[in-house]
Subunit: 256 residues, 2 copies
Amino acid sequence: MRNFHNYKVMVTLQPDTEKQFLKDYNPNDFDRPSTAVDSVIYSVFDDELHVLIVKRANHPFRDYWSLVGGYVDLQNDTDLIDTAMRKLIEKTGVKTPYLEQFNTIGNKTRDPRGWSITTVYFALLPVDSITLEAGHGAQDIKWAKLTNGKVKEKLAFDHDAILKACTKRLRDKVLYTSLPIHLMPEKFTLNGLQRVYEIIIDNKIDHKSFRRRLLNADILEETGEMQKTGRRPAMLYKLKKSNETFFFLRNLEGSQ
Amino acid sequence: MRNFHNYKVMVTLQPDTEKQFLKDYNPNDFDRPSTAVDSVIYSVFDDELHVLIVKRANHPFRDYWSLVGGYVDLQNDTDLIDTAMRKLIEKTGVKTPYLEQFNTIGNKTRDPRGWSITTVYFALLPVDSITLEAGHGAQDIKWAKLTNGKVKEKLAFDHDAILKACTKRLRDKVLYTSLPIHLMPEKFTLNGLQRVYEIIIDNKIDHKSFRRRLLNADILEETGEMQKTGRRPAMLYKLKKSNETFFFLRNLEGSQ
DNA sequence: AGAATAGTGTCTGTAAGACATTATGAC
DNA sequence: GTCATAATGTCTTACAGACACTATTCT
């Protein structure tokens, strides 16, 4: 280790107590990057994976579609997930979404205004119980069909890349967790759940394997009710009380 | 969707072009949280998992130990990993660390100065080729032994919680990846690598299983050289060219 | 020879994949 | 009855765990 002769000098230039230091502290002494939160909000319906996008009413990228996001409100948000939750409720009205942090991107170039950081969350919403709400700076809002991690709309900022990476993460995680249950209504059939798995991983899963896997996980319980649409009625299951995501020890490998 | 009568008014109050908007833009119009990057720097030696900590020279939490971190330098860092890399080189001199983003924590309370965000990376360093460098605002720097995700030193801010969560993530990920290879010198024995796995997951692994797993992954190649310490010499392996982390389809389950 | 570490052989157990079969309802 | 969807039976395959065994060096 090096020896700093001027060490004492450096220290005595500082206030002696933390209290004094905090009193003198000015948050504008150093430039800070802008800090946003963006959410990739997924839902599965019509046999397709969809993502919620909003049309930007303001510059930059005015009139482009983008992920649902906004700036941290230093007065009203107590933490980052608060910001994500607030924006999500504003746009969808859903109050108890599954929200998970995906990644944080921060660099000089992603926003023309300069250094900016965004923390990306993803949300899983069941189809039912969503009512889209326009306004709040968004000219429009809609579900966009996802194919191969992409939507046909050109998105603002680096949102195309974020969406692609996040969708890959979702797919990878679906191979070893029970995440897709969060995309289902409260009561659902095993075959319904399997279809959602298959849509996300874009691959067929063996019927028997899938049932074994989920039933052995011991996270579902029969409701006693049956779904009577289609031919033979199917058992309706629901998630057991212990609400957490289940992690399987082995990945689904995908047929063929 | 709702109908906003006053919608047009809102829009026309904005500049018409993105160019004009950017010209008028003032980054200080809104308060921003402070934005840091902290790294959990791991290394395994003396049959223990260690983490690098530095003693804080400045308020707040002066004289507390903390993770290696610092603020984003808007002039010189082009992205967040740049900031992490720069701090890591400053402290250890290591230029090609394995660095992976772990998580971002942002809230009102973690820093007494107010709303602050930190993006946490973790680094894996081989024991060899590390020279600790003091200075740069740190009075001291050292490797702290990790037991159960904790160090005996009381850390600044929420670094105890970050360290614990990050170490859990590391452990979990070691169960299904080849991550620990990044903790090894260029040439290493399979038994040496196994010991590092065992130290991180804090569990024994069956010898035969481990060799099968790593050799079948086809990510290692024999160097032809032997390690001559101990009794029977052991084959020295190195990572094949394709440098990426291997993901196994099944987790290690831990003996007993 | 004996100790210590490196490395193999081989059996068991578990859960995924494949796919044939049976069950239950609508028509 | 036929059709469609729900659900089971059961064989194969892949790979982790257990553990006995052999191999190579040192003293």
